[in-house]
Amino acid sequence: MKIIATDREGAEHTLKGRDGWTVMEILRDAGLPIAAECGGACACATCHVYVEDGWYEKLAKPSDAEIDMLDMALAVEPNSRLSCQLTCAPELDGIQVKIAPE
């Protein structure tokens, strides 16, 4: 599967997703500037992304823990998600995410 990620400068990156990995891990390993301070524990809100172009609705709903943690994210929009809570899967092939400002 592919992930289309837009960085904070607006540049688009096509990344190879790996089933079972989180989107945060793919972004981080590609060297994109995602802090992910807590390492994927849904405890810091520094892997915040906007899920774009209709993909938000195709995702499993955020857990209560993620909704709560988004309260600590900056510039939250209706399509905000924490990328450590998004798991790569074939049905998400082509998912578009934009890294939120820090």
Partner: protein, 341 residues
């Protein structure tokens, strides 16, 4: 201002800084720790105090808080001194070869060895990405409430949905001329009783609550007059206020360590893998802040690094003494230091 002389100054009181105290203590080296947070534990207590950690050798499961508590118990015999709520702000080499580590609270620690165990750097408040916000910081935008009196009579806007946002909404409401809480949703991660209290205040017109985001700040010379709020229903509107307090928790920034004149690679300090010393003699880096071939950012790696660092720190602090390598299981000398013999 105070100046302290010791053997080792440690920047960062997270798990690795704490274990460094232990390893140094076994070699009779005294340590002072500086940390920007108000309690020891670093990321373990700040980010995941209640989350389980499963990869600490010998502890099948331990939370961030429990690990910190156990490390504090382990270092107790060595009486480390904590300088909390302070940022390590400057590092200077003295003519006698020792280092002077300064903090933003004007404390100075003089030591032959400095150990940087700062993780990703300093925890600092998250700054909303609103254009031009820096011009207002310290004048009308504040990330903490230190003296409540400074907020008396102000027209305050608080943003956020966590405990700090709710607690300060409740505490400042009686002294503010007007207070508005703004949050991106009508739900909060804060404690339920605080949420209930806030809703009560809103119901009685003591505060306003808006589901919205802050998009822009308006004012001049650092003095705020209004902000632009926005939500999907009402679109954008101006809201008059002269004080803005965003509460979005903390994030980690490298901070002043970047200016210590050390060799940095992508905000990490390069070290050798025998001593975990930086390219500057006497300055060591252990834990998440260092980098070397094969580095893994794991707590257990930092523990190992602390033990090796301590050996070299001994040679620097006690150049005329021979290091006697001993085991805690068999050495009555070490057991005495630990207070168990």
């Amino acid at each position: 201002m105070s100046t302290i002389e010791t053997d080792v100054a440690i920047i960062g009181a997270g798990p690795i800084g704490l274990f460094a105290v232990f390893e140094l203590g076994l070699l009779d080296l005294k340590a002072h720790l500086v940390d920007i947070l108000d309690r020891p534990g670093g990321q373990c207590t700040e980010l995941y105090p209640e989350k389980p950690i499963y990869d600490i050798p010998g502890l099948p499961v331990v939370t961030g808080q429990e690990l910190t508590d156990r490390l504090l118990e382990q270092v107790k015999p060595f009486h480390p001194t904590f300088h909390l709520n302070q940022m390590a702000s400057g590092l200077e080499k003295l003519p006698d070869g020792r280092w002077k580590l300064s903090t933003d609270a004007d404390e100075h620690i003089i030591a032959p060895v400095v150990v940087i165990a700062a993780g990703g750097g300093s925890f600092v408040p998250k700054r909303p990405p609103i254009p031009g916000i820096d011009a207002y910081e310290g004048k009308s935008v504040h990330y903490a409430v230190r003296k409540m009196e400074e907020f008396r009579g102000k027209n305050i806007l608080i943003a956020g949905g966590g405990d700090s946002a709710l607690d300060w909404t409740i505490n400042l409401a009686p002294i503010a001329a007007k207070l508005t809480l703004v949050h991106h949703r009508d739900g909060f991660r804060a404690a339920q009783h605080s949420v209930n209290q806030m809703r009560e205040l809103a119901a009685h017109g003591k505060i306003n609550f808006e589901v919205a985001s802050v998009k822009a700040l308006h004012g001049d010379g650092g003095h705020l007059h209004a902000v632009t709020l926005s939500n999907p229903e009402k679109k954008e509107w101006e809201h008059a206020c002269n004080t803005f307090i965003p509460f979005f928790g903390l994030t980690i920034k490298l901070g002043p360590i970047a200016d210590f004149g050390l060799n940095l690679t992508e905000n990490l300090i390069g070290v050798d893998t025998a001593k975990f010393q930086s390219t500057t003699p006497g300055i060591f880096a252990i834990g998440d802040i260092n980098t070397y071939a094969g580095k893994l950012k794991l707590i257990l790696s930092g523990f190992h690094e602390a033990a090796l660092m301590a050996q070299e720190a001994f040679h620097i602090c006690r150049p005329n003494e021979k290091l006697r390598f001993q085991y805690t299981t068999s050495s009555s000398n070490l057991q005495k230091k630990l207070g168990v013999a």
